[in-house]
Amino acid sequence: MTDTVKEPIERLLHNHPFFAGMEEPMLEKLAACATTRTYKAGHRVLKEGACADHFTVLLSGCVAVEVATPEQGVTPLQTLHAGDILGWSWLVAPYRWTFSATAREDTRAVIFDAPCLRRALEADHELAYHLMPRFIGVMSERLHSARLQMLDLYGPPAGARERGLA
């Protein structure tokens, strides 16, 4: 659903931590590719395998990044909240989502049109230079988080597991 609340997108971006420190003219260029949207709780925001034609900046609410397997059904891997961004498959060919995502609460977001954004970055390398490290920062943080989750840090100590103690 397209958002009816009219607030300049530049202002929304200016106040969002992902864009912190970016100059106004750059935010204006980015805003030219963006719209605001609200998702009702339960709305499927991304579908694994579908065309990654946008990226999402969360303003409020909560979205769960999920993976579906035949054995375990839909498993949430991570929840994202205000201040987070969702999706970078739009940056990497073949531009397909590698996970699904569902709104857990009514969620408000800024949505960027990926082809428009790719063209803007192609035409303005300085804009790309300022935007890309932000994505790399988010990717590295998510990778680190995923590794910690994989480590099962709070599980029984390896020795206890092997000896059937826990």
């Binding site: 498993t75 991570q78 909240h81 910690l148 989750q149 099962d152 709070y154 029984p156 206890a160 826990a166």
Partner: protein, 300 residues
């Protein structure tokens, strides 16, 4: 001074009065355990349980939040376990333990009415007083909530002394959330922000999913005035301390609790040595500024 010190010249005890083999006194000898009776056993999780203990001599065991005791299962062995009760209620000594090996497994099998030996309290404490007037962020991971619970009790008992109080807790799954009733009560308070995240969502969990550092990244505290207290597995503490300092919390205002194998708990045997420190005596609570360089060192 030790009673076994060499007598001064000319002051040797007379031969008619041989030195009696004095029975060690638990009240004065920190190597001798005091017997405590288990008055309640609560199974918290599939491998974790809480003992409520009362001293057989009736004398309460006062302690400061963050300190630990040595728990002696007679005939089996002795282990360091943090005190997890309310320091304002010293008559009942509370320990939450996870059964992982020989001694803790033997404790798991013990029932109310049984006797256990206690030495302590030992070690440094969470410096609650340094947090007064500012924001407080408590970051716990897994069983790490147990050593932080006395601190949380103190913060809530003296709530007006602190500005914002945040409790950020990471558990393995929703079934592994420790002290569920209490966590729910903290979440229900209007003057505390208590957030729980799980590494793996199961059974219709509708709360946050992801590592506890993500809750730190979300902010909600005034970094310059914040004091943070962190306890959990070492890897988690490293990530949490890093996230806190990246948010602007000064290293000198971040505190963490370390674990090392122990024997004497008195700084004599060197079993718990960690760099230049003994965890039993200089810790277990350390200031992050003092140990940050040592923390990322893998000891294998």
């Amino acid at each position: 001074m030790s009673t076994l010190a060499t007598p001064l010249k000319g002051h040797a005890p007379p031969p008619e009065a041989p030195h009696p083999a004095a029975a060690p006194d638990p009240a004065t000898d920190p190597m001798v355990p005091r017997p405590f009776r288990i008055v309640r056993v609560k199974k918290e999780l599939s491998d974790t349980f809480t003992f409520d203990l009362v001293a057989q001599d009736g004398a309460p065991l006062g302690f400061r939040p963050g300190q630990f005791n040595m728990l002696y299962v007679f005939g089996v062995g002795e282990v360091p376990i943090s005190i997890s009760g309310d320091p304002a209620v010293p008559e009942v000594l509370v320990h939450t333990t996870r059964a992982v090996g020989t001694v803790t497994r033997a404790m798991w099998a013990m029932k109310a009415g049984a006797t256990i030996g206690i030495r302590g309290p030992f070690g440094s404490a969470w410096p609650v007083e340094t947090a007064r007037g500012g924001d407080v962020v408590v970051v716990a991971g897994g069983i790490g909530l147990a050593p932080l619970r006395p601190l949380i009790h103190t913060l809530l008992n003296q709530r007006e002394s602190f500005n914002r109080v945040m409790i950020l807790y990471g558990a393995r799954t929703p079934e592994d959330i420790l002290y569920k009733t209490e966590v729910r009560a903290w979440r229900g308070r209007f003057d505390v922000s208590a957030q729980v995240t799980v590494d793996r969502a199961t059974g219709g969990w509708s709360g946050p999913v992801g590592v506890v550092t993500r809750l730190i990244n979300a902010g909600g505290f005034d970094a310059p005035s914040t004091t943070a207290f962190v306890c959990g597995p070492e890897v988690m503490m490293r990530a949490a301390c890093d996230a806190l300092t990246r948010k602007g919390v000064a290293r000198g205002k971040v505190w963490l609790s370390m674990e090392r194998n122990m024997k004497c708990a008195l700084g004599f045997c060197g079993h718990c040595q960690w760099g230049g420190a003994f965890v039993c005596k200089d810790g277990p609570v350390f200031n992050y500024a003092a140990v940050a360089d040592r923390l990322p060192v893998a000891e294998y």
